[in-house]
């Protein structure tokens, strides 16, 4: 043990001298490369994680909340059309600690028509779901009321008015022109043909944009209006729940079950992002590729530096062995040097990310189709990049120094 410690001290001594008395330009450039590789890995990870986080956050804020309750199955195993005794259910839900709020929605298929010049010559028609909300309840579970691009949010008493997402309206910078009414404005009249045969005319009270395309493809009427259309009361197609996110959704789902929400189908928000999951999975692949490339860049740089250092010191290494220095001491000294390059590179990279890049991206977020994205450094990914850089640097230091230090002493000295 004492010998090992002494050997390590000798390696440390050599490493210290390489750093303090070695070529400063090589030292600086190698550290710079390690720093850039680390930043490159984490900045791309950060942007993609930021984008994924934004998608998740938008999904929860504007699409399905944290948890969705849907109708359960009847005695024959068929899915019920509506949740019953909704008001009672809402009281149970709201009583659970950690639940911020819930909102019951009806959802029904409909054809929406828009006749801009009211002549019948240019009727624009789309088939789209119409949903109902209780405006007050909805304010507790979504950001819809804060996302009005034009006009106003619904009032509880509104019966002949609708709000629609900009993707439905087809104006206000909508990006999915194909499935839209191609230019509905505030105050315009639309006709809704519900699937049960009821036809209603509504004035467009507001156009909203959450910047999350899935959420911007919906038309909302008030709960009272929808109950009048469907001829129902105290029912819902779904109940959207927001939690304080202190625990994972599974924790609250368990609480909901315990509170007596047993017959309904309760699902977390993740079950509703099938469309988004493809993007997230693609981002994960990109992240892995970037991590791989970054590690290769850092590893190869350090490898080349150590390789050149050991090759140019071949004779010196031969002499060190000739005077009785163990190969392991020589190899360890170069591994320490490689670790030094990586560690300083990582530290500088961390400082640049924390004090320069993060504040910059907060001040100047990137504009993505689903919103503004800033850097999100995920702890586990950050630690993985650090551990990977360190592992790669050890290998990059070990291989060349081991190769050269194993060379025959006479050959090393005389070439």
């Amino acid at each position: 043990m004492r010998n090992m410690w002494n050997d390590f001290q000798s390696s440390l001594f050599l490493f210290y001298k390489y750093v303090t008395r070695g070529n400063k330009v090589t030292l600086t450039l190698t550290i710079l490369m390690a720093t850039l590789a680390f930043i490159q890995i984490n900045i791309v990870h950060g942007i993609l994680s930021g984008a994924v986080n934004l998608i998740y956050s938008q999904t929860k804020s504007n699409y399905v909340g944290n948890i969705v309750i849907q109708p359960g199955k009847d005695q024959w195993g068929n899915k019920e059309q509506y949740i019953t005794q909704v008001e009672r259910l809402k009281r149970k839900i709201n009583a659970i600690p950690g639940i911020i709020g819930c909102s019951a929605r009806y959802s029904t298929g409909a054809i929406i028509e828009y006749d801009p010049d009211k002549t019948g010559k240019d009727i624009r028609s789309i088939s789209w779901p119409v949903k109902s909300i209780n405006p007050q309840d909805e304010m507790r579970i979504s950001e819809l009321h804060n996302c009005m691009l034009a006009g106003q949010y619904l009032d509880e008493s509104d019966r002949d008015q609708v709000i629609m997402g900009r993707e439905v309206s087809g104006g206000y910078g909508a990006s999915l022109e194909v499935q839209s009414l191609k230019g509905v404005n505030i105050g315009d009249e639309v006709t809704v043909f519900y699937h049960n045969g009821v036809v209603r005319k509504y004035t467009v009270k507001g156009i909203y944009a959450t910047v999350f395309p899935l959420a911007d493809m919906t038309i909302f009427v008030t709960q009272k209006e929808m109950e009048s259309v469907l001829g129902l009361r105290d029912r819902a197609s779904e109940i959207i729940i927001r939690t304080d996110e202190a625990y994972p959704e599974a924790y609250y789902i368990e609480d909901l079950r315990k509170a007596g929400v047993e017959l309904q189908d309760i699902r977390p928000w993740q079950d509703f992002i099938g469309l988004v999951l493809g993007i997230v999975q693609s981002f994960d692949i990109i992240k892995k590729i970037i991590l791989f490339i970054g590690l290769i860049v850092a590893g190869v740089t350090i490898f080349i530096v150590i390789f050149i250092a050991t090759i140019s010191r071949r004779k010196q290494i031969g002499i060190m062995k000739a005077i009785g220095m163990k190969e392991s001491i020589i190899v360890t000294s170069y591994i320490l040097l490689a670790l030094f390059y990586a560690t300083i590179g990582i530290s500088l990279g961390m400082a640049i990310i924390e004090f320069i890049l993060k504040p910059y991206f907060i001040a100047h977020p990137l504009v993505f189709p689903m919103g503004k994205v800033s850097l999100l450094i995920v702890r586990s990914e950050f630690l993985t990049s650090i551990a990977s850089m360190i592992a790669v640097s050890i290998v990059a230091g070990l291989i060349p120094s081991w190769q050269v230090s194993r060379e025959n002493i006479i050959k090393a000295i005389w070439g």
Binding site: Q9, I319, K321, A322, I323, G324, M325, K326
Partner: protein, 251 residues
């Protein structure tokens, strides 16, 4: 005491080269031996085998009764560190270390306490006349000074034997004199066993004994008288000493 018995070294290849063809001799402790011979005679090869830098094809080497050829690679490294010192032709110091750091390196490897190895190396640096150059980087020292640092490094572990492979090859006349006198004094004052390879016959006057090699064989031995040594020590290195022209011819 070094005992060399029928040492042979053949370098394998397309055409095998028999560098040593059965060399045997003894060197008592405290003797300064010069290994001489023309180029290709096997001087350096012999030194490399004795210093465990290479492995002979056959034969035996005993150092104070220890069969050093039976040592494993790891044990041989440790043996070199504890019992041998080696001075190379081209200074062979570590440029990132200063003079005293180069000198104390073997002691550090041996695990000796820092204060102690600095003291021992400092004393040796004083003995080799470099007490005022301890903290100079190698690039700031002259060739002669660098070689004296190499000698200090070779002796710092109180080595049983000091191997010197043409230690004056790259030095000017003045520095050659300094290094040779230093080796002679080390032998006289510390009883240091020294085995020095040289191709310059003038340098043999500093040794006690000369082993002449030719074609991988020990051809003859020559003993240098104390008077000659004293004269060499007194007069320093001279280039006008008569040499044996036969042995200077390359094979």
């Amino acid at each position: 005491m070094i005992e060399v018995k029928d040492l042979q070294k053949t370098y394998t290849g397309k055409v095998p080269v028999h560098a040593l063809k059965g060399v045997s001799f003894d060197i008592p402790s405290g003797q300064f031996v010069a290994l001489m011979g023309p180029s290709g005679s096997g001087k350096s090869t012999l030194l490399h085998q004795l210093a465990l830098l290479d492995t002979p094809t056959s034969g035996g080497i005993l150092l104070d009764g220890v069969d050093i050829l039976s040592l494993s690679q790891h044990a041989a490294t440790d043996f070199r560190l504890r019992h041998m010192g080696y001075v190379f032709q081209e200074y062979a110091l570590i440029p990132e270390l200063n003079a005293i750091e180069n000198a104390f390196l073997p002691l550090m490897l041996l695990g000796i306490h820092r204060k102690e190895y600095i003291r021992i190396a400092g004393d040796l640096m004083d003995k080799v006349g470099l007490s005022d150059r301890l903290h100079h980087l190698i690039s700031e020292l002259s060739g002669g000074e660098q070689q004296r640092v190499a000698i200090a490094r070779a002796l710092v572990n109180k080595s049983k034997i000091l191997f010197a492979d043409e230690p004056c090859a790259n030095l000017d006349t003045e520095n050659k004199g300094i290094v040779l006198r230093l080796l002679r004094k080390l032998c006289n004052e510390l009883g240091q066993t020294i085995l020095m390879v040289t191709h310059e016959p003038e340098q043999r006057e500093f040794a006690d004994r000369v082993l002449w090699l030719r074609d991988g064989r020990l051809e003859k031995e020559e003993y240098i008288s104390k008077d000659t040594q004293e004269e060499a020590l007194h007069n320093g290195y001279r280039t006008d000493i008569s040499s044996d022209p036969d042995y200077l011819k390359d094979d």
